[in-house]
């Protein structure tokens, strides 16, 4: 199916110049997607790969007609969508099964909605249940099933409708490694079956290997706001072998793109780093220390895909740590290789008190939000400010959830470095004495901006 010649391929879903923004709390807008154009063709498997916050799920939902793009339009077979996409079925990360319906009733639900007569409904549902390996479970309720079996029900419910496009939103990320490998293989074998009614599969994932295993084409999404960073065709024959050198090359390439410098992101465009353009990566100080320790143990250099494999981490777990380490200057990344910097080495080998002091300096110098907080506290009357002050500031660039997250990370880092303290009850940040000794550094910062 994948060998169709490009010129004769019919476009199923065309998204043109899509951007999506949400109004934020103080009236300004949050940009989730920025000018994205994608076409999904007949006969291909497309993976949308990105870190969390790259808007990949939002993009998929605009394809499905569940979310309206702010500008631009999505067409299905040439018709502009104004509601749920009639040619799409979706498999959800959380399965999204009705807990009060049996397996069979869940699978039949879409047919019932389509007004299919009872007899035919039963027949088709049983067929789909059989095809996906669920026979014997027809009368079971979802709660009685394991995660893997629940996702099979999710697949059966989608496939029974014989959709043009099968959309999958991180369908395997809630499952354990073996179960997801098994389901992926079954999906590939279904896709390769002649006469399989579904013409296109679009999968959202943050797992690089999964993207390389399944897709004919990987669209790499960058964050802040979401945009397409790269389009990587995967021309490996199926079934694909994880250990083949070509497979590894593809994985390394995607790693390099994901960890590389992103020219289009707001961070790169902004003149000076600020808390709104340079969000703090979601990493705890403990996690950072762990990463640096491992790279140190590897002799100061580590291959990121290997590292992820070794720790059975996925990109979403590892990349924020790598990003944070890079932000603070503890690591440098070339392609898919991470190197320990001199600063990183010094930080790791210092004693606890010294390492805290070093961390404080690094955070104030390199973490924009930490710097902003310290500066604001320094300039305030009594060295104390309400957390709402910073919340309001962050809300101009983040949604409510991310605002809290950013604040939490900054507080975690600041507390560890003993830069400031946080009293949760009145919600007040108080400058500590350590920060006062860093005032010269702050002065430099003022000169910069």
């Amino acid at each position: 199916m994948t060998a169709t010649v490009a010129t004769t391929r019919t476009a199923l879903i065309e998204a043109e110049h899509i951007s999506k923004s949400f109004p934020s709390a103080d009236g300004s807008t949050l940009h989730v997607l920025d000018d994205v154009s994608v076409t999904l063709h007949e006969g291909e498997v497309v993976a949308l790969l990105g870190k969390s916050g790259s808007g990949k799920s939002t993009l998929l939902r605009t394809f499905a007609g569940l979310i309206a793009p702010t500008t631009g339009e999505v067409r299905y077979r040439g018709k502009v969508l104004n509601g749920a996409n009639p040619g799409a079925a979706m498999v959800f990360q959380s399965f999204a099964l009705m807990p009060w319906l049996t397996v069979q009733d869940n699978v039949e639900l879409g047919l019932r909605a389509a007004g299919v007569p009872e007899q035919e409904r039963h027949r088709r549902a049983l067929e789909a249940i059989d095809q996906i390996g669920l026979d014997g479970f027809e009368t079971a309720y979802p709660r009685e099933l394991s995660g893997g079996m629940r996702q099979r029900v999710g697949f059966a419910r989608a496939l029974v409708l014989q959709p043009d496009v099968l959309m999958m939103d991180e369908p395997f990320s809630a499952l354990d490694v073996l179960t997801s490998e098994n389901l992926r293989n079954e999906l590939i074998s279904l896709w390769s079956t002649p006469g399989f009614p579904t013409k296109c599969i679009c999968i959202v994932t943050h797992n690089i290997e999964e993207a390389v295993l399944l897709a004919d084409r990987v669209l790499v999404l960058g964050s802040n706001p979401g945009h397409i960073m790269a389009e990587v065709p995967i021309l490996l024959p199926r079934p694909r072998d994880r250990r083949s050198p070509t497979f590894e090359t593809a994985v390394d390439r995607l790693y390099a793109i994901l960890t590389g410098r992103d020219e289009k992101s707001a961070a790169a465009r902004a003149a000076a780093p600020g808390p709104l353009t340079h969000p703090l990566p979601d990493a705890s100080v403990g996690g950072l220390a762990g990463l640096v320790e491992i790279v140190y143990a590897h002799g100061g250099q580590a291959d990121l895909p290997d590292l992820a494999d070794e720790l059975s981490f996925e990109v979403d777990d590892l990349l924020p740590l790598v990003d944070a380490a890079r932000m603070l200057g503890l690591l440098e990344v070339e392609g898919a290789q991470a190197f320990l910097t001199d600063v990183g080495r010094a930080w790791y080998t210092a004693d606890i008190q010294r390492s805290k002091e070093m961390f404080a300096t690094l955070a104030v110098e390199h973490a924009p939000l930490v710097k902003t907080i310290v500066k604001a506290l320094e300039n305030s009357e009594d060295g104390a400010l309400r957390d709402d002050f910073f919340r309001d500031l962050l809300r101009r660039g983040y949604n409510a959830e991310d605002t809290e997250k950013q604040l939490d990370i900054a507080i975690d880092w600041g507390r560890y470095g003993e830069l400031f303290d946080y009293d949760a009850n009145p919600g007040e940040l108080v400058l500590s004495e350590v920060a006062a000794s860093l005032i010269p550094t702050l002065m430099d910062g003022d000169a910069e901006s």
């Binding site: 939902r61 099964l97 007004g115 309720y141």
Partner: protein, 582 residues
């Protein structure tokens, strides 16, 4: 695909269910038949000819009539529950799905929740009497309506909450599967809201008994209407000073409360467990003998077979209503214009209504009555405050003691549940008797009368809060050798604070409502009156002074809503923020 096929799955539960018991079938069928016969018998009484002037103002206190009265009362309760459920479905769905309607329906619901229902009884009675002239149905409807107003708001709010907090993925799945509106309602909305709906229904039903008792004898415009029912029986026995019969009625009442719980709510809550979403487990598994019995019989399967074509027909008939999806593109300009027009019309109507109402009041009693009512409101407010303080001092330690011991909780929880739903106004004659005998003023005794019903909410919630304290925290407290005072200061107090606030809101609301029946009480020929807003409303209702009733009810609503807004809600969000255990 065939590589890894799961083994055969045997569902033991299902095979047991299939084997039905003859005894179970027989019992269920007989029960259904008896219920039908009872309904026919009771509906006979309701359609009896009725004359506004010669309508009975009392009922016989012959104990032989008591079962019939009890059945009539029960029928009223269930009629109100049915109406409440339908109302809930329509109102909550409209509030959750219609953007503009939500702007009105939600604040309205918020106010209706806190309005003293009993004050409206007289107003609605005249409407119902006009609607159904010549039969007892009018008075009957007024009573059912009073119960309905005590049940509906809570249920509606719970269902609305479940609608707007629906899991996002289920909503998306429903839209992508292209369910029709009707299908979505029954396959997603109702099942998803079933547990909160049933639990709130049960709570509201318990509260409804109070209003049933209060609404079976309605005195309006210097005329008293009595409906055959257990509440009217108690009123009559109280007037004739028949203590033995009063006690008998209390016994019947307890049997009814426990019985309804056993054959209706218990099976329903156990059945509703299947609607639990996700992997969350109930804290305590619900079991019901009645549900097991029904499940063993073939009756549910038979009923399902009969109803299936009906369901399919409705499914087909409601197809034209359209799919449960929303358009992605909206005309912003037109929407904004519609919003503005809507807002203007609504505000104009409200302003007009307000002007008319104030005009009416100033014509009939004068606007100065607002001041009088507000002054009396302060007195009743003082009673509510005393009530809360005393109930807290008594029930918080007891509640914590019960809640901390699982053994005591298991034993005490059902008793407290019965006490909470037992209508406190049943006991009023006894307290009144005591007040008359001791000569204590109702100004003080009224607090006790109001507390009779309200206090249980505090106890109930504190028990729930205390039993939710994690064991490791208690062990840590013991391990740290905290003394009793320190334990209260650092563990029990913070841990139960949020529950206490919840109980406090409900108790205060209940006390305001109860003041309408607690500030004027009588036993035999003696009538005691306290000064307060409740007495003001009760007296103006009895005199048929509609304007004064309106003033009293409005002022009381302002008190309750204002206190909720400025005191309870803030306290609650503080408790949530600061003392949440999760």
């Amino acid at each position: 695909m065939a590589s890894l096929r799961p083994g055969t799955f045997t569902n033991h539960d299902a095979s047991l269910r299939a084997r039905s018991h003859f005894a179970a079938d027989a019992i269920v069928l007989v029960a259904v038949a008896v219920i039908f016969w009872l309904l026919i018998q009771l509906s006979h009484g309701i359609s009896e000819p009725f004359n506004r002037v010669s309508a009975p103002s009392t009922v016989s206190t012959d104990p032989a009539n008591l079962p019939y009265y009890a059945a009539r009362s029960l029928l009223r309760m269930f009629a109100a529950l049915a109406v409440s459920t339908i109302f809930t479905f329509i109102y909550a769905t409209a509030a959750a799905r219609l953007r503009r309607a939500e702007k009105i329906l939600l604040p309205l619901l918020d106010v209706l929740q806190s309005v003293p229902i009993l004050g409206f009884l007289s107003i609605t009675l005249s409407i119902w009497l006009t609607l159904f002239p010549g039969t007892e149905l009018g008075v009957e409807c007024a009573s059912v309506f009073a119960i309905f107003t005590s049940q509906a708001w809570n249920m509606t709010f719970a269902f609305y909450q479940s609608l707007i907090t629906q899991p996002r993925d289920l909503d998306e799945a429903a839209r992508l599967l292209r369910l029709t509106k009707w299908q979505r309602f029954w396959q997603l909305d109702v099942p998803n809201g079933m547990i909160p709906l049933i639990w709130n229904g049960m709570m509201s039903f318990g509260g409804g008994w109070f209003f049933l008792i209060a609404s079976e004898v309605i005195s309006v415009n210097n005329h008293v209407y009595a409906l055959p029912g257990i509440g009217a029986y108690v009123a009559a026995a109280s007037r004739q000073q028949e203590i033995g019969r009063l006690l008998l009625a209390i016994l019947v009442m307890i049997v009814m409360v426990v019985g309804v719980n056993f054959v209706f709510w218990r099976p329903l809550t156990a059945w509703a467990e299947r609607f639990r979403t996700g992997d969350t487990e109930a804290v305590e598994q619900q079991h019901s003998v009645v549900l097991d019995l029904v499940r063993r019989s073939v009756v549910p399967a038979m009923v399902a077979r009969v109803l299936r074509p009906v369901g399919a027909g409705l499914d087909w008939a409601t197809r034209p209503l359209g799919r449960a999806d929303r358009p992605l593109r909206v005309n912003q300009a037109r929407r904004r214009a519609g919003d503005i027009a809507f807002l203007v019309i609504v505000l104009a109507l409200i302003a007009l209504g307000l002007a008319r109402m104030l005009g009416y009041i100033s014509d009939h009693t004068g606007l100065a009555q607002f001041g009088v009512a507000a002054g009396l409101g302060l007195i009743t407010f003082a009673r509510v405050v005393v009530l809360l303080i005393v109930s807290t001092a008594i029930w918080v330690p007891i509640g914590v003691w019960i809640g901390l011991s699982p053994k005591v909780t298991r034993f005490a929880q059902p008793i407290v549940q019965v006490l909470a739903s037992f209508p406190a106004n049943f006991l009023f004659p006894f307290i009144t008797m005591a007040l008359i005998a001791t000569g204590i003023s109702l100004n003080i005794g009224g607090i006790f009368l109001m507390a009779l019903g309200a206090q249980w909410y505090i106890l109930f919630n504190v028990i729930a809060g205390a039993s939710a304290i994690p064991n490791d925290l208690r062990e840590a407290a013991t391990n740290l050798r905290l003394n009793r005072r320190q334990k209260w200061r650092y563990l029990y107090g913070p841990a139960i604070f949020a529950s206490w606030v919840t109980g406090g809101i409900t108790a205060a609301g209940g006390a305001w409502n109860a003041s309408i029946v607690a500030e004027v009480v009588s036993y035999g020929d003696t009538t005691l009156t306290a000064s307060g807003l409740g007495a003001y409303i009760a007296q103006s209702t009895a005199e048929g002074d509609f304007a004064k009733t309106l003033v009293g009810v409005t002022v009381m609503s302002i008190f309750v809503v204002g206190l909720n807004r400025f005191f309870w809600r803030r306290l609650y969000s503080y408790a949530e923020r600061r003392f949440s255990l999760t």
